[in-house]
């Protein structure tokens, strides 16, 4: 059993050298949200690397503590940014998760939620059905009744809180609103394609719509193939590489027939993951080359707008805003200056840097559901930093962050509007054209 684990761990690691790169200098410790919560070395990047290393060498058995710590990690990758030695922590923890994911070591709650969410995101049809049901639940009064009657608390005490964590389902999904091809009224400067995402599609249809509008205002013709699917990051980050690869191939196929310069993504997690398709499919003879091309064309909407800054004129905006760096932007894709350049370019906008803007908000996929209490402590710290800026708007470029921050604003009574930067950009662009 144990040596199986060992072999499995090796088989999912990129190579053995990743294991030996950490020189245990500790420079990553204070950037780690989980270490900051517990002050236990085993909840720190350095400690986890030691544990993974020991497991790979067969020195320790993979037991409850190991599984717990691997799942307790937010996979926010703040430690990768902090690590001067270039340790690829993310690939190690994701490899470790492959081993613990389905074993008895995973809590029942975690396994059930994971199974359900994975099943749902992987199948577009299921996602839409589930979202319809959720929409009905959120809007028909059933949710209110359940909450008021406290039935939900009886069934499962945490569920009532978790229930609120789910963002509101959009009335119409963006895939229903956005045509296969959107033409621009302006001169065509770029041929673009867009990835609508899974959650973005059903929960944040308006943001997808705003993205289309911004692209169109910037002179893009936008293609939206209906065959596109979820990017696969959720299964990928939770150790289910097989599903992730399947989804990746579907997306590659969906966009292959199109003629486009770049593929725009507006959720940092999806963008980060699709930029890594080349790596994900590196050993697949029929897809490795296609994946390279696909990944090289992925462009975050903020990268795009930043490149266009010379070409566009923003109108004045008088909002007082602050910016939250999504982990998959700042730590994974190293997108950090782009949003700031854009915000600086909007006249009169009152931009306030929050303290610890790159500190995770605690959303992290399904983390806020399976580690609700820890996630809330992390969120509280974030909301506190937002509050201190006095801003009335907080920007976040990831669906998870958006939902989490919205929940935080309600829970911790912070009077702040949570919006995606693209919606603000649209506002600044539209006025000029009016």
């Amino acid at each position: 059993m144990e040596s199986n684990h060992k072999n499995l761990l090796f088989s999912v690691l990129p190579d053995e050298d990743v294991l030996n790169q950490c020189i245990h200098c500790g420079l990553c410790l204070t950037t780690c949200p989980t270490y900051s919560l517990t002050q236990f070395e085993r909840s720190s990047p350095r400690g986890r690397i030691k544990l993974i290393n020991a497991a790979a060498k067969g020195e320790i058995e993979i037991g409850d503590t190991f599984a717990y710590e691997m799942n307790f990690c937010l996979d926010c990758q703040a430690c990768e940014t902090a690590c001067p030695a270039g340790v690829k922590y993310g690939s190690m923890v994701e490899a470790a998760r492959v081993i613990v994911q389905d074993s008895k070591l995973n809590s029942i709650l975690r396994r059930i939620i994971r199974k359900i969410t994975m099943k749902i995101v992987i199948s577009k049809r299921l996602l839409k059905i589930a979202s319809r049901i959720l929409y009905f639940y959120q809007n028909s009064g059933v949710q209110k009744v359940l909450h008021r009657s406290r039935i939900i608390n009886l069934i499962f005490p945490k569920l009532s809180e978790i229930d609120d964590l789910s963002p509101k389902v959009s009335k119409k999904f963006s895939s229903e609103l956005i045509p296969e091809i959107t033409l621009t009224e302006n001169k065509v400067k770029h041929k673009a394609a867009i990835h609508l995402g899974c959650f973005m599609d059903v929960m944040f249809a308006n943001i997808n719509k705003d993205t289309i509008d911004v692209l169109s205002l910037c002179g893009c013709e936008i293609q939206n193939p209906i065959e596109q699917v979820c990017c696969g990051s959720l299964p990928g980050h939770n150790g289910d590489y097989e599903s992730a690869r399947k989804l990746a191939k579907k997306n590659i196929d969906a966009f292959e027939r199109l003629d486009y310069e770049f593929l725009i993504v507006n959720s940092s997690g999806c963008g980060a993951f699709m930029k890594e398709y080349a790596y994900l499919l590196r050993d697949d003879p029929s897809y490795s080359e296609k994946a390279k091309v696909f990944s090289s064309k992925i462009k975050d909407i903020l990268e795009f707008v930043n490149n266009e800054l010379g070409e566009i004129n923003f109108n004045k905006l008088h909002d007082k805003i602050t910016y939250h760096d999504a982990c998959h932007h700042v730590h994974t894709q190293k997108i950090i200056n782009e949003p700031r350049n854009i915000l600086k370019a909007i006249p009169d906008l009152d931009v306030n840097e929050m303290n610890e803007s790159t500190w995770c908000c605690g959303s992290a996929g399904i983390y806020n559901i399976v580690h609700y209490d820890d996630s809330m402590k992390i969120l509280e710290r974030k909301m506190d930093n937002i509050k201190k800026t006095g801003a009335s708007i907080v920007l976040a470029a990831n669906h998870g962050c958006l939902a989490q921050l919205q929940y935080g604003a309600d829970k911790f009574h912070v009077a702040v509007e949570v919006i995606h930067p693209v919606s603000l950009i649209k506002k600044a662009l539209q006025k000029t054209t009016e």
């Binding site: 030996n20 200098c25 420079l27 001067p84």
Partner: protein, 479 residues
């Protein structure tokens, strides 16, 4: 360790502050020192002085060892467990208890992160200068125990220059208080300075009173590029000789420049043989005048380019880049053995050449960087611990460097402490009477040798520090 003893320890600190799981023992088996590690028997997080005192007393009664630990960024093995030991982790003692703006002091618990204290006091115009490369992570307690230096030591001195007082649990469980807010105090021996640099061998520090100074208002940060290593070292000696005291003069060689640039992308010159990062701070026009003099000296010594940071932010980026040097070198090879040789500043050009010579002679790769203004360099051997032959060569190269440093009137460690890693060289620097005196001090304070035994020197030389408490070991020894 017997289970009954573990039970007693658990009772003292409480269940949630105790662990002897294999995972936790593993996670406290190392610090930042290369090659060394050992499992403790248990890990504890005591909450107050009474608990620490009880642990120490129990250790004397039942014969186990205690290893105090901060953030575990030490580079001489100070917080690596010894045999039959428990670790006392102090990171949760992280409160700044008082900032006294009338006496310019701060009272802190030992687990406060150095950079956190700095940013707190800087908010009110005060300054705590010691800034080890690890300042975002290391604890004040660890700094005091190791008498840590930093980039600004050139002008502002090291940790000991800022410690006004300490509280420490002694190996018999008593609480020792030293020093106080008085600027002058000559009542009896200066016990405070025994505490500073004691590396966790004389007691467990529980409270620290620190001196603060006014925050300098101006600073200029300069990065000078050199095509020859020697020129950079000569510049340093000449700047010192010109009676100018920059607050830092840091040096990076070509290997280090490239590794740091790979990590930070701050635009370091990849082709240069060396760079010097110099900061001049103070008040008023003097800062500018000194900066001009420094630039002239750099040019005279063939600096190929001089970059002046044009914003506080750029200056910060350059300094942060320098702080990452040690860890960034690990991008090359998985094991980085770093040393801490220090020579009088006038001898800097010679020791830098000796490092290059050592690399060639023993066929190992060095990255070299350090606090050039202090004559304190960090030759770092880039190697792989799985390759024993190469590790042996590295050790030989370091022997060579240490001997050369001592010949130049230098020392084996400027700031990282002796710990485990450098104790074999201690006698060469401190001399036999010096080491004998240290041992006597240790023995008179820690009769049973329970606190961090085997660090700095061995009282019982036959096994690394820890006395053979267990029966099977005693038998071994009799054979």
């Amino acid at each position: 360790m017997e289970n009954s003893v573990k039970e007693k320890i658990k009772r003292i600190v409480g269940e949630r502050n105790y662990s002897d799981s294999y995972e936790d023992r593993l996670c406290y088996s190392y610090d930042a020192t290369a090659l060394l590690h050992q499992l403790p028997e248990a890990v504890t997080f005591p909450e107050n002085e009474e608990q620490i005192s009880s642990l120490v007393k129990l250790a004397n009664e039942t014969k186990f060892n205690i290893v105090p630990r901060g953030s575990g960024t030490g580079l001489s093995g100070g917080s690596i467990p010894v045999e039959n030991s428990i670790v006392i982790v102090m990171t949760r003692w992280n409160k700044i208890l008082e900032v006294d703006t009338r006496n310019l002091t701060a009272t802190v618990q030992p687990g406060v992160i150095t950079a956190n204290l700095q940013s707190e006091v800087e908010k009110i115009g005060l300054f705590y200068p010691p800034d080890p490369g690890s300042m975002n992570v290391c604890t004040i307690g660890g700094n005091v125990a190791n008498n840590a230096g930093g980039l600004r030591a050139l002008k502002y001195g090291v940790t000991k220059n800022y410690v006004l007082g300490t509280e420490m649990i002694l190996p018999n469980g008593d609480l020792l208080k030293t020093g106080g807010k008085n600027v002058k105090d000559v009542a009896g021996y200066n016990l405070r300075d025994f505490v500073v640099g004691s590396e966790g061998t004389l007691g467990i520090i529980t409270k620290i009173l620190l001196k603060l100074i006014p925050l300098p208002s101006e600073s200029i940060t300069i990065l000078a590029y050199f095509d020859r290593l020697h020129d950079s070292a000569e510049s340093v000696s000449e700047i010192i000789a010109a009676k100018i005291l920059p607050c830092m003069m840091e040096f990076l060689d070509n290997t280090t420049i490239n590794c740091v640039e790979d990590f930070t992308h701050v635009g370091l010159p990849r082709q240069s043989e060396a760079v010097l990062l110099i900061e001049i701070d103070g008040r008023g026009s003097i800062v500018n005048e000194d900066a001009e003099t420094v630039k002239n000296i750099l040019l005279k010594n063939h600096a190929s380019f001089i970059r002046v940071a044009d914003s506080i932010n750029e200056a910060l980026l350059l300094k942060t880049a320098r702080r990452s040097a040690f860890s960034a070198l690990a991008r090359r090879r998985p094991t980085t053995i770093l040393e801490d040789a220090t020579v009088p500043r006038s001898e800097l050009p010679i020791i830098i050449e000796k490092v290059t010579e050592a690399g060639k002679k023993f066929n190992v790769t060095f990255g070299n960087f350090g606090h050039a203004g202090d004559g304190n360099i960090h030759p770092t051997c880039l190697t792989d611990e799985r390759d024993m032959a190469e590790i042996n060569k590295a050790h030989k190269a370091f022997d060579f460097i240490f001997n050369e440093a001592i010949k130049l009137g230098g020392t084996i460690t400027g700031e990282h402490g002796t710990g485990l890693a450098k104790k074999q060289f201690l006698e060469k620097v401190a001399g036999i009477p010096g080491v004998e005196m240290m041992k006597k001090i240790k023995q008179s304070i820690d009769e049973n040798n329970i606190l961090n035994p085997g660090k700095i020197f061995s009282i019982s030389p036959r096994c690394e520090g820890s006395l053979p408490f267990r029966r099977e070991q005693i038998k071994d020894f009799q054979n």
